[in-house]
Structure formats: structure tokens, C-alpha cells
């Protein structure tokens, strides 16, 4: 346990040597990035695999590995963790009637909607406004909404897109936590 804490200290220092709090924030951002990457790569448990990848990265740094670019290094470690995960587990198969399952309203959908509302309310004002307006509408009206939204918050379209992405990630994470509790 001591070794782990010490390794984590090395990693945090590498992420930001001067500000421990900022290092912690960078750690969480990297953890989310890795989890997203592993999800895209069809990991069966992206969060655990991401944590494992960062744990190993920390230990490598503590052991004296010369890591210049932590993010790239951690992504590569994550790929190895994923390979190991795949060796251990069979990939989860889709239910045969997957589309029908979507079509039929289930209690679980209600739960998800319930969590969605809870999490939207828990989001900050700007994130909530961006989510609600950025992903609303279709076609031209959607494009117009986005332009108005960017103007309203003084953002470029690129910055708005990024902000919407991060807000949605935050929302999804909150919903997953909420569902896990219910």
C-alpha cells in the first residue's frame, strides 16, 4: 500500500510538480480519457482498466522509467491492459433482439430518465444550458441554435463543441453513477 501511494505521488508530481491540486485534476482528466479510449476499444470494464493503466504508469515512473509524455505513455499501457483483459474475458455478446429491447420501454429506461433529470439538475448552469440547447433540434434549426448558443456564452464554435462534449461526458458519468446506486 505504501508503495502504491508513493508511486501515485511520483505520477502526480510528474503531472504537475508545483501544484498538487492541479496534478489531481490532470490525473482525473487523464483517467477519463483512458476510460473513453478503452470503451472505444470495446473494453468490458473501461473504468477499471483505465485505473489499472494509470496505476501501472505510476509504478513505472516510481521505478525510474524515463517517461517524457505521460499521456501517450499511459495510453500505450492502457492498450496492454486491454489485451490482458481480453485474454481473461470473452467479449460480451449483444442480445439477439437488441433493437426490440430498445423499442420496448422498460423500467430501466425510466430509471435512466430519472437519473438524467437528477444529473441535469446537478450540473452547473452553463453546462446544463449547453447540453439542453446544443443537442436539441435538427437540421438548420439545430445549426442556428448552436450559433446562438456560442454567441450567448461568448465562445467560438470549436470551443462550444468542446464544452458540449465535456458537459455530456460529465452528464454520462453522473448517470452511470446514479444507475449504479439504484
Amino acid at each position: 500500500m505504501t508503495v502504491y501511494n508513493s508511486a501515485m505521488d511520483f505520477l502526480l508530481a510528474k503531472l504537475d510538480a508545483e501544484d498538487r491540486e492541479r496534478a489531481g485534476e490532470k490525473y482525473l482528466v487523464l483517467l477519463d480519457e483512458l476510460a473513453n479510449f478503452l470503451r472505444l476499444k470495446n473494453s468490458s470494464d473501461s473504468q477499471t482498466a483505465a485505473e489499472e493503466a494509470l496505476d501501472r504508469t505510476a509504478k513505472k515512473i516510481a521505478a525510474g522509467a524515463d517517461v517524457l509524455h505521460i499521456r501517450a505513455y499511459a495510453f500505450r499501457v492502457a492498450k496492454f491492459v486491454l489485451l490482458e483483459q481480453r485474454r481473461k474475458l470473452q467479449p460480451d455478446a449483444l442480445p439477439e433482439n437488441y433493437e426490440n429491447r430498445f423499442a420496448a420501454p422498460e423500467i430501466k429506461s425510466d430509471l435512466r430518465l430519472e437519473c438524467l433529470e437528477e444529473c441535469l439538475n446537478a450540473l452547473g448552469f452553463i453546462d446544463r444550458e449547453i447540453i439542453v440547447n446544443y443537442y436539441e433540434g435538427e437540421g438548420r434549426s439545430k445549426a442556428d441554435l448552436k450559433i446562438k448558443l456560442a454567441e450567448r456564452f461568448g465562445l467560438t464554435m470549436t470551443a462550444l463543441k468542446l464544452r458540449a462534449l465535456r458537459a455530456r461526458q460529465k452528464l454520462e458519468k453522473c448517470i452511470n453513477n446514479c444507475l449504479a446506486k439504484k
Binding site: R39, L40, L94, S109, R112, L113, F153, N176
Partner: protein, 343 residues
């Protein structure tokens, strides 16, 4: 726009799309992954495109629908992400029909407008709003704590029952004032400075209550045989010019020396308005603020407040005390002359 952002062009987007839909070979996927491993912006583009594909799929507007189902929707985590996106669309569709989200938060709409074209005043107002919100939260937390303290005291000492009544009545008034402040906060951002002052007064009142409760807490539990530490006095106003009253000025009041707190009930003149708030001065020293009048069983409008031990000891040696009740415009609405006679 940064250099990384310019890298993303249409052909890149097509490549990312193919990656997400599992149309790239392993070598092509590896090469692309190397790019976004080295560049966070590209990776964020991948994730944004993933959301776009999911949304299009759910709206039945994704041309590569089969590919998506076959190659993307292959893990519970991705299925969960799609279901969450579906829930979001359902929610937004409902909101689109009702358009209730902006209305629900219309009180805060002004804040968002400030971000659209920020100015020093707007930033200052946002700061004040945050301050007021924190102040309001503190009031709620503190009120709960005061209630708990009173509840704990109830079982300890019968001598404090009237004191509790006073504190409870003041806390009820504080609760009402909080609600009013919250309402005004929503409605009158332009008058935020005066709200800050009012909140500051509230904080002072609370601190005084806290001192009082602390004093009572220190009273030994089994000392009912001792002289009381708390006294209650009721005062009628002196006649003001052109006003008929049954006031009885300068009644000598005997107060035991060990009294640490004085509960004061002031009967207000009939001209006092129940909806107004008042402050009380004791020989020129403000001892209570923002008091809400109440109507007692006899139908008189009254103000209740407590003079703390500090005030008593400060004023006890004064033979004659002049208590003034003023409205928030600092107009005197009633005077009370008292003679304190220590026993």
C-alpha cells in the same frame, strides 16, 4: 484556432467515422490511434463524432446503421451510452414541446446573459449573487444549528423557557426574512448592494443569538433554586406628538444583578405597520435589527428581542435608558424610557 484544430478536416472526419464504425484495418486503426494518443484535440474530435453518430442512429438518420449495430454496439458500455443518449433525446423532445427548461431557470437567465457580453458591473453582480447565495446557505445551516441548540436546551432548565420562546420567535422571523431575501435576490439583482447589507444585518443578528444561546448553555442544569439569570420586561411607548397612548414612561425596573440576559417585549404604537421591519437602539446603540412585529393575544403589535449579557453589563449602571424603535428608513416610531434598578 490552434494548429491541432486545423488538422481536423473533412477527410479526417471521414477517417474518424470509419474508425468508429470499425471499417478501418487494424494497421489503419493503430496509425490513427497513434495520432490521437499524441494529440488530445483529435481524440476529443473522435469522442464528439461518436456522440454525433449515436444521435444520428437514434434519429434514424445514420446511413451506416447496420455497420453501427454490427461494429459499434458490441459492448454493454456502448449500449449504455446509446441508451443514455436516447434518454437525453427523450428528455429534450419533452423540453422542446414544453420549452420549460429556460423558464424553469428564468431567474438565472440574467446570469447567462452576462456571460454573453461581460462587463465589470456584470462580473460584480455575479460575484454578489454568489456571495448572497453563500450567505443564504449559511443562514439555513445556521438556523438549523440554532434550532438544534434550542431543542437541546429545552430539557435542561425550566428558567429558560421564556428565553426559548424569544429565540424561537426571532428564528421564525429570521426564516421569514431569508425567504424574502431569496425572493428579492431572484427579482432584484439591480439592488444587490442593499441585499448584501441586509444579509450582513442578518448575520449580526444571528451572531447575537448565538452568543445568547452560548450563555444559556453555560447555565448549570440544577440551579433552579438560584436567582433567575433571565428577566423579561414589557415596555409601552412614550406618547409621541399628537398621539394618544396609555404609555407609562420611566417605570423603574428591578433586575437581579446576576441576570445575564434580558428579554424585552416592546408594545408598538398602533401606527406601526405589521409588514414593516424595525431596528432597536438602546441609548444610541443598535441592539436589534430587521425585527418583524407580531400581534400578541391582546391584539397589540409587539417587537421581541433579547439584550445579551454584554449589553446588560454595559448598560446596567445606567439609571435611565432610552430605547428607540426605528423603521428601516431610520425614522423613530416609538420611544421607551426605562429606569434600571439593580437589586
Amino acid at each position: 484556432m490552434t494548429e491541432s484544430e486545423t488538422i481536423i478536416n473533412n477527410s479526417d472526419e471521414n477517417l474518424l467515422r470509419q474508425y468508429l464504425l470499425g471499417e478501418l484495418s487494424e494497421a489503419e486503426s493503430e496509425a490513427l490511434e497513434e495520432r490521437f494518443i499524441d494529440d488530445q484535440v483529435i481524440f476529443e474530435q473522435v469522442l464528439a463524432l461518436e456522440n454525433k453518430l449515436i444521435d444520428s442512429y437514434l434519429l434514424n438518420r445514420l446511413p451506416e446503421r447496420e455497420l453501427f449495430e454490427k461494429n459499434y454496439l458490441v459492448t454493454p458500455e456502448k449500449q449504455g451510452k446509446v441508451e443514455t443518449a436516447r434518454a437525453l433525446q427523450t428528455y429534450l423532445a419533452g423540453q422542446g414541446a414544453k420549452k420549460s427548461v429556460p423558464e424553469k431557470i428564468s431567474g438565472w437567465q440574467k446570469v447567462s446573459e452576462m456571460f454573453a457580453a461581460p462587463s465589470i458591473w456584470q462580473y460584480a453582480t455575479v460575484g454578489l449573487l454568489i456571495l448572497l447565495t453563500l450567505g443564504g446557505s449559511f443562514l439555513i445551516v445556521d438556523r438549523t444549528r440554532l434550532n438544534n441548540q434550542i431543542a437541546a436546551l429545552q430539557s435542561n432548565n425550566p428558567a429558560v423557557s421564556s428565553r426559548e420562546e424569544d429565540l424561537n420567535s426571532q428564528l421564525a422571523a429570521a426564516r421569514q426574512r431569508e425567504n424574502e431575501l431569496q425572493n428579492r435576490l431572484r427579482e432584484e439583482t439591480g439592488q444587490s448592494q442593499s441585499l448584501v447589507n441586509e444579509l450582513d444585518n442578518e448575520r449580526k443578528t444571528r451572531e447575537r443569538l448565538e452568543d445568547e444561546i452560548e450563555k444559556i448553555r453555560r447555565i448549570p442544569k440544577q440551579n433552579s433554586s438560584l436567582a433567575p439569570e433571565l428577566a423579561t420586561i414589557t415596555l409601552r411607548p412614550e406618547p409621541r406628538q399628537g398621539e394618544m397612548t396609555t404609555a407609562n414612561p420611566k417605570i423603574p425596573i428591578a433586575i437581579p444583578r446576576n441576570v445575564e440576559a434580558l428579554s424585552v417585549k416592546l408594545i408598538l404604537p398602533f401606527t406601526a405597520k405589521i409588514e414593516n421591519r424595525y431596528l432597536v437602539e438602546f441609548n444610541g446603540l443598535q441592539v436589534a435589527s430587521n425585527l418583524a412585529p407580531k400581534v400578541d393575544p391582546s391584539g397589540s403589535k409587539i417587537l421581541r428581542f433579547v439584550l445579551s449579557g454584554k449589553n446588560i453589563s454595559r448598560n446596567f449602571g445606567v439609571e435611565a435608558a432610552l430605547i428607540k424603535v426605528k423603521d428601516l428608513g431610520k425614522n423613530v416610531i416609538a420611544d421607551y424610557s426605562v429606569e434600571f434598578k439593580p437589586q
